[in-house]
Symmetry: C2
Subunit: 350 residues, 2 copies
């Protein structure tokens, strides 16, 4: 029982007493084959345990049925949730997901994209708007479709499927302001190469400027992209001279939940009660954010829906030539218990 040579169309054809073309047809366009012939072929195929060789098919059709995506890292629940939904939706239509990471930005994205192009992915999913222009031009000239995820911007020509990070930034800031917060400290992960975070930040700043003096810039602290950096930063603030921590801010506006949670845990450790002593909001709505103490008020990003939507869009485009359209997904601010209402009147202002 040594290495079985896998059966090919030829073997199936001869067993079924038809030509290879017919075998190929029952595989791809069954309607163009008489039911009886099709049945014969199927039987033969089953008997020989026939599995079409997808490299050969890819070579012939120049479709690999694989979709590539480049993310900075897999080690991030937001990406993971998105990828999970994406994979599920693609798998349903028999497409494969090839994931590639830039190792948190250590490797140029354009290089990883090129690699995916080289292996022949049919389409590419690229998070955010900022990508190497030359590369994009190349993609356009080649036969490779691409879509930008995690953002929505109807001003760009390329399809964007995601949420409006800028508007969400404004929304969160407005929420804080409406609850009486006037001194807000912004906590962000790395900005470099992350236009989504930048957009949120811009939204926050614009909203705050509108409410306060023109030209007002809320203080901003840039941290790493892990819980530790936020945790350690907050601890350091709190260990310093008492009272002057956070320069008197009443709220920490965190541009991701990972950071918000790090801050929450650090404050708890240092005896700062949230939201009494300090309010906190985040972005992402990770699973755990519902269960922190207090439960975190945060923006629920529709990453699962985004995964589904993108898969749908890309496949529709690939199979029926439907042009890919940008699509704005709703994101809700989910209000929980980490923000204090600082307004004088205790009436429920909406």
């Amino acid at each position: 029982m040594s290495k079985q040579k896998r059966a090919g169309v030829r073997q199936v054809a001869s067993l079924a007493g038809v030509s290879v073309a017919t075998v190929s047809r029952v595989l791809n366009t069954p309607d163009k084959v008489s039911p009886e012939t099709a049945e014969k072929v199927r039987l033969a195929a089953e008997q020989l345990n026939f599995i079409p060789n997808s490299s050969a098919r890819a070579l012939s059709t120049s479709n690999t049925r694989s979709i590539g995506i480049v993310v900075p890292t897999l080690e991030n629940l937001v990406h993971a949730k998105f990828l999970d939904a994406l994979e599920s939706s693609l798998a349903e239509k028999n497409y494969n997901l090839v994931v590639s990471t830039t190792r948190k930005g250590a490797i140029p994205e354009s290089l990883k994209i090129r690699e995916l192009v080289n292996i022949g992915v049919d389409a590419l999913i690229l998070p955010g708007l900022n990508h190497d222009a030359e590369l994009l031009e190349y993609l356009r000239k080649s036969d490779i479709s691409y879509v930008f995820s995690s953002v929505y911007d109807d001003r760009v020509a390329d399809p964007t499927i995601g949420y409006d990070n800028y508007a969400l930034g404004r929304k969160v800031a407005r929420y804080l302001v409406s609850h009486g917060h006037r001194n807000i400290l912004l906590l962000s992960g790395p900005l470099e190469g992350n236009d989504r975070t930048k957009l949120r930040l811009k939204g926050v700043r614009d909203e705050l400027q509108q409410h306060f003096a023109h030209g007002y810039q809320p203080p901003l602290q840039i941290l790493g992209l892990d819980t530790r950096s936020a945790h350690d930063y907050v601890c350091r603030q709190l260990e310093g001279s008492e009272g002057t921590a956070f320069s008197g801010a009443t709220a920490l506006l965190c541009l991701s939940d990972v950071i918000a949670i790090g801050a929450l845990l650090a404050m708890e450790k240092k005896g700062i009660t949230v939201p009494r002593d300090m309010s906190v909001v985040g972005f992402d709505n990770l699973e755990i954010s519902e269960f922190t103490n207090p439960a975190l008020t945060t923006v629920d990003l529709p990453v699962t829906e985004m995964g589904r939507k993108i898969a749908e869009c890309v496949i529709d485009h690939l199979e029926h030539g439907t042009p890919m359209m940008s699509c704005l997904l709703d994101a809700e601010l989910v209000i929980r218990d980490s923000v204090a209402d600082l307004r004088q009147d205790s009436t429920d202002a909406r």
Copy 2:
């Protein structure tokens, strides 16, 4: 500037004034080509922006340079960390990772494996030991290598690269017992289809039996695989009749950090102080586990190292025929602050 037709070996060959065979050689076996010829070819290739078509190459060589992995879900930081390391290591050697999920077990693993085989992955990485026997037989007969991850077991014929879940279960139980815990409640995610968790559980039970009466079975509560299920379970326990919660256990031995953290947060919410009122240990050492209050004592699974090791092993096998060997990776119990020492004497017993 419409659709550029990608240059192929032919074009490169004619531009360089050589045959296609030579072009292919400079690509694959440069030592078998004279330096001058090679240089000419490289120049031509560069000029034409030549990218070898990988479907054609795959068809010719029957190697796709892609490695498949099937996991229950991507939405899990332990998997994500592993996949991240795996992808990085594979990418270094120009291999691609195709991920496939069973949607938390909703789709039979064997089906997803078959799909990966059909698209022609060169090797397969399968978490745990339990897989469809028939399918494994099929993989053996075909030319597809596979390796079991997240486990180590030198008694199985197939290569296993991972940690010894059973021994780790014993280690954790022993630690608790050595700290005076006599009444331990086990909290686990779903057992079905997860032999790693089952092994940990068995290790825990065996260790406990050894210390207590023969036939002793510690109580076990099976939960879901998310934080919520643990959180809600603990809340329910604590809301019931006071004092009888957890049937008097002094420690919660959680078979994953996600569960341990859910428990931790729930207890905090309900005013139970860890470790004073209840001790907690976990498995995984998620990034956040270091920052919970109190910091979680847990088993640090070497998933990053595992990713690297597996990539290395698989590639070595694929490229040099090196037989894949099982490999046991060390996992440490990282002792933090969530376990109380209940022993009478306060001397530091080792």
